[in-house]
């Protein structure tokens, strides 16, 4: 789902940067409430897990790529603001260490996966908290929600940014391609994401850490 550099227009990624930074500044206050000697190692380990999972990607012909994300365990255990900030950090490291996802597209990636994904994962888990499959569904639904958000952001580009000949200047495929393509390709990923979320949250709780 990471979008590489060059596909997103500055008219989109610059306001998105403003939003990402504004949300991060607010989220940082909430983030610090969660930090203590015991939680930092878990945060670092789960952030590294998210890094590895979202680094293993396959490119898609209709645009972007498909990969796991790993934000749901962070969101369930530490809350959505902490997960959002950790994912912002993960994308930054991916962009600068691996060239995976770009710097210009960082803001859109952070919003789609970090913000929408983390809040959706937390929302689903909070709604279904007494149910047996709450953790699995949290990972599953939030992955699809992130994919849907990203497909809308990408799909609006050909309507907004074309030259006089009608040639696309940035991302070329419309909503009619991006939405079905990204959603269907992310269904298997969402299933794996749900299972991994269930396994990791149980593992961490078995170690006596409740978040």
């Amino acid at each position: 789902m990471h979008v590489p550099d060059g596909f997103i227009a500055p008219q989109v990624f610059l306001p998105a940067y403003g939003l990402v930074i504004g949300l991060a500044l607010y989220g940082f206050k909430r983030f610090k409430e969660n930090l203590n000697e015991r939680s930092i190692p878990y945060l670092a380990t789960l952030s590294a897990y998210a890094f590895v999972l979202s680094s293993l990607s396959l490119p898609l012909p209709g645009g972007t790529s498909v990969h796991g994300m790993g934000f749901a365990p962070l969101s369930i255990l530490f809350g959505p603001w902490t997960a959002y900030l950790c994912m912002c950090l993960v994308f930054l490291l991916q962009a600068v260490l691996l060239g995976h996802g770009g710097i210009t597209t960082y803001s859109v990636n952070a919003l789609a996966i970090g913000f929408v994904g983390s809040f959706c994962a937390y929302g689903v888990y909070s709604l279904l908290t007494k149910r047996k499959y709450a953790t699995f569904l949290s990972g599953f639904i939030s992955t699809l929600a992130s994919a849907l958000f990203m497909s809308v952001v990408l799909g609006i580009h050909p309507y907004l940014f074309t030259d006089v000949d009608g040639k696309a200047l940035y991302f070329p495929y419309p909503l009619s391609i991006t939405i079905p393509l990204l959603l269907t390709s992310h269904i298997p990923v969402a299933l794996v994401e749900g299972l991994l979320t269930q396994a990791i949250v149980s593992f961490v709780r078995r170690r006596g850490f409740e978040g």
Partner: protein, 181 residues
């Protein structure tokens, strides 16, 4: 301070390059960036070739179906040039700034950055070791079940180990005066 200033300049250059839609200007920037990268690398091209190749592959993969579908062949060239320029600029800047200093305005953020990146290096090494060990044990190629079992077991083991390591690193950082701000 120098690192933060360079980071700011880099961000401005990225916006400029992402805004350009003229193939002529993009070619000019590409020439300048290739020159700057060649000087900065001092002949050590081998380790720097992978990111531009990956960027080219992605640009090709996305732009070619569109160019064939609509007949806008210049789109493929525009996108490839833009992606190459942005990738080469990023490579050039990353070789010349210290990211930990550039993002060192918050101690908590730095602490998390150090811990997470140390884990990432560990995980990357483990991933390549995992591939090598599985290959060496399966001369005829591993079956799918072998791969699932092996990766499940090793994943859990290293997740546990990474957790213990980060507990130790967090304590070590605290004992050296790295308090949460």
């Amino acid at each position: 301070m120098k690192d933060r200033f360079l980071l700011l300049l880099y961000m401005l250059a990225l916006v400029l390059l992402a805004s350009l839609s003229s193939i002529k200007y993009l070619l000019l920037f590409l020439f300048l960036l290739l020159l700057a990268n060649a000087i900065s690398l001092r002949g050590n091209f081998r380790r720097a070739i992978r990111p531009p190749l990956f960027a080219l592959f992605t640009a090709f993969f996305i732009s070619t179906p569109y160019a064939l579908w609509t007949g806008h062949y210049s789109y493929a060239l525009l996108l490839t040039l833009r992606v190459l320029n942005l990738t080469l600029l990023t490579l050039l800047v990353l070789r010349n700034i210290n990211l930990y200093l550039a993002f060192g305005f918050s101690k908590t953020l730095s602490q998390l950055l150090v811990l997470t990146s140390s884990h990432i290096l560990l995980y990357r090494r483990v991933f390549s070791e995992f591939k090598d060990s599985l290959r060496s044990r399966s001369p005829e190629g591993p079956q799918r079940r072998d791969m699932i079992n092996f990766s499940g077991g090793i994943g859990l083991y290293f997740f546990d180990r990474a957790l213990r390591d980060s507990e130790e690193v967090a304590k070590a950082m605290k004992s050296r005066g790295f308090y949460i701000d």
